[in-house]
Subunit: 458 residues, 2 copies
């Protein structure tokens, strides 16, 4: 295997090279992301209002669009040391197999028990909840990565953790549920009879297998009706992208250490937590005019919020109990098909990424799941890591871009985010191997119908 000069297969930063601050990309954005609105008054949510749902310090982070750097508390940095730095891997084997002149790197976030990058924000949110003296937190989980991450974080800080898990995932992924249980979390299939909104949805749709939007409504209600609890969320929010900037900061530090400049940066995008975190510091350079990069958000063709959605204020949840958020959305009533990338099955996209995309600072591409799993299997065999279906969206487009380089002969440097592992997604792989996996693309009529449900703004 030919290795470039001094560049190892895997770049691990030393402990003292790890970031001590998160980077807040909003500080460098000329067009700031639009504020959250009160769903009744349509006025920007105040800190006081938000603090009924979220932890106090997290509300500050949510609203802060001026400070570029925010210190990472020592306790969180200690926890990060348990599973970080994540390696930046040079995909030498993949390059050789593709016979491409492109240099391919991936930031691997799957080397922890939650199996994904979600732990980066989970530990931060648990820490601030503990600091505030709360008893516990509530949340929802779809594929289960976020719920697992939060369970681990709460266990570390000895906080109660209540997870509403979308019912179909709860039933299809008993092992995910069991991992959360190992970390002491209470996992409830959603919709459930434990909340008013859950009861209402069950009464209206008795046989429903649930949705992320519905589980969010239940978790928010559970938090706001119980003393000492707050709601936490694993994606979409500004605070989450802030915490996830650790991914991009480490990636940039690792590249800088070896004098490598990225040309194309690729990430899968569901709510935007991974992509936003990965690109943040690079986007900062672009916004400040210091460097240029091509950013590509990859989403499933079955849930194409950036590529086919509308940039508008919308509800974040089915029960419409959350603030309104301006984002690229398919409409909160959009029901995504049973795509196996559960983590990308959300109707909206982070406000930060939505604004950057709207400003033409980022591209978006949608891919179908059978081609994604073909790329996943190819990658597993060549690079030895079994990727999560979500992450494999980025793999697919990274390979596409590397093959373009093969045609043109360009030696571009491609960096993509490998957010997690697929150990709990073997049903999906089985369906792919057995040739039973189908693609699904919503029709224009279906999208128009769900977009018709957007809230009427003044």
């Amino acid at each position: 295997m030919k290795q470039d000069n001094n560049i190892p297969y895997k770049i691990y930063l030393d402990e003292q090279e790890m970031p001590k601050q998160w980077y807040n990309v909003r500080a460098d954005m000329k067009n700031k992301p639009a504020p959250l609105l009160n769903p009744e008054t349509h006025q920007p949510m105040t800190a006081e209002e938000l603090e009924e749902v979220f932890c106090k310090e997290l509300v500050q982070q949510e609203l802060d669009d001026t400070n570029p750097y925010i210190d990472i508390p020592q306790e969180i940095r200690d926890f990060y040391k348990m599973y970080r730095p994540a390696p930046l891997v040079r995909a030498y084997c993949l390059e050789e197999k593709l016979q491409t002149p492109a240099k391919i790197y991936y930031k691997f976030e799957g080397n922890n028990t939650s199996g994904s990058h979600k732990l980066n924000s989970a530990i931060a949110q648990a820490y601030y909840a503990k600091q505030q003296g709360l008893k516990g937190v509530t949340t929802e989980t779809g594929a289960g990565q976020w719920g697992t991450a939060l369970s681990m974080a709460c266990s570390y800080f000895d906080l109660d953790c209540q997870v509403y898990m979308v019912k179909c995932s709860y039933e299809q992924k008993p092992f995910r549920r069991e991992v959360m249980r190992t970390y002491g979390a209470k996992v409830t299939p959603s919709p459930s009879m434990t909340t008013e909104v859950g009861k209402k949805i069950l009464a209206e749709h008795p046989g429903t297998t649930g949705s992320l939007g519905c589980a969010i409504s239940e978790a928010v209600e559970q938090a706001t009706t119980h003393e000492g609890y707050r709601y936490v969320l694993g994606s979409v929010l500004n605070q989450v992208l802030l915490h996830q900037s650790i991914i991009g900061l480490e990636t940039k530090a690792a590249l800088d250490k070896y004098g490598v400049k990225a040309d194309i940066i690729i990430g899968c995008a569901g709510g935007g937590s991974n992509l936003g975190g990965l690109i943040s510091p690079f986007m900062g350079e672009k916004l400040r005019g210091e460097a240029d990069y091509k950013f590509i958000a990859v989403e499933p063709a079955s849930c194409p919020s950036l590529t086919r959605g509308k940039y508008a204020y919308d509800f974040c949840d089915t029960g419409k109990v959350c603030p309104l958020q301006k984002m690229y959305t398919l409409g909160s009533g959009f029901i995504p098909s049973a795509n196996h990338a559960g983590g990308l099955r959300y109707h909206g996209m982070s406000s930060v990424l939505s604004q950057l995309f709207d400003d033409g600072l980022m591209e978006a591409r949608s891919v179908e799941q059978t081609e994604v799993f073909a790329a996943a299997e190819q990658f597993a065999r060549i690079e030895g890591i079994l990727p999560a279906p979500e992450s494999s969206h980025a793999i697919k487009v990274a390979i596409d871009e590397a093959m373009k380089c093969k045609e043109t002969g360009e030696e571009k440097t491609i960096v993509f985010g490998l957010t997690g592992t697929g150990y709990f997604d073997m049903y999906a792989y089985e369906s792919f191997h057995d040739g039973k996996m189908k693609d699904y693309i919503p029709t224009d009529e279906e999208l128009a119908a769900s977009l018709a449900g957007l809230p009427k703004m003044d």
Copy 2:
């Protein structure tokens, strides 16, 4: 969190610090492990005889008890770079939680898709098979870690891989099977109708759910009756311990880098691949009189080959097609209980470790599975890694030793092998959480009965 001077949470060797040679502990043993015997003549197996079953180069390694160092071919070192070096982790969080003066380190081998250390030998065996121009290899797998590792290795070198998986595991662990399939392996539940020995066993025991010994017989028959195939094994053999010495060599290099001297080294022991690999270079120092260490082999009370077995020549497999091996054994007819640590459910122990144990150079301890899972859950919550049931045997004894230090006030340095992750063992965790897990200790009568089946030697 208080950190010792300059010692990070995780020690990663640089790429150029990774071992370039394996260490062969047999070279330093005064009492060499006894040779494999032909089951019919009871004469030592010749290289020619062994080459009918194993790859040529691997036979040389199997028989070599004089060369202390053997070069790792560049192709294998390249593959090692994809997932190694494995981190040596300082268990700061566990130490704090236990309030022990002991310094605890663990070598974590679970950061690869096969989920364990097995890949270290799988890639070596696949490499030599490829070098010899073979079409493929056959093997057996119980818990599935070895089968997964071999699938990955064969996929990398484009070799056919046929895995006989113990039927009960095949049915209970469909996801393991699916991972092997992702890597292109052919997985057959054992006993099967694809071999004569399988047909015979099925005729005698129509409802059997299989055993490791039976799957070995099938895999050996399959290899020896097909042109261009050889049999490979994931544990017990000398060659496997040789390849696994990479674990101990990296561990020693990492400790040396920070000037740390281990006092106690602990590993779980089924066939001995992990323990043998971990302790090899340290044992070498002890054998040469350069340093002293306390080594502890930890085995399940349900399958206690070292602590309650007999040191004698025995069959390695149920079908009695393999050479005889002198080892601590419970008898090849011993039927271990349905302990959840599938990887520790073998009736015999590596010849190397058996001889070292017999010479008093190593201790052994047996533990029951409910206490093992309690330690596993404790560890998962504190150190963030969900351990495999096998690995958790070592965790249990490491915690015991750390608690002894707490009593005595001794600041001992404890190193243990964390061989893998438990993502595919959630049924076992569920059984533990639900209070359904049972312990099982064979009676003296049961052991006497199975030991009565040892072959009569001259």
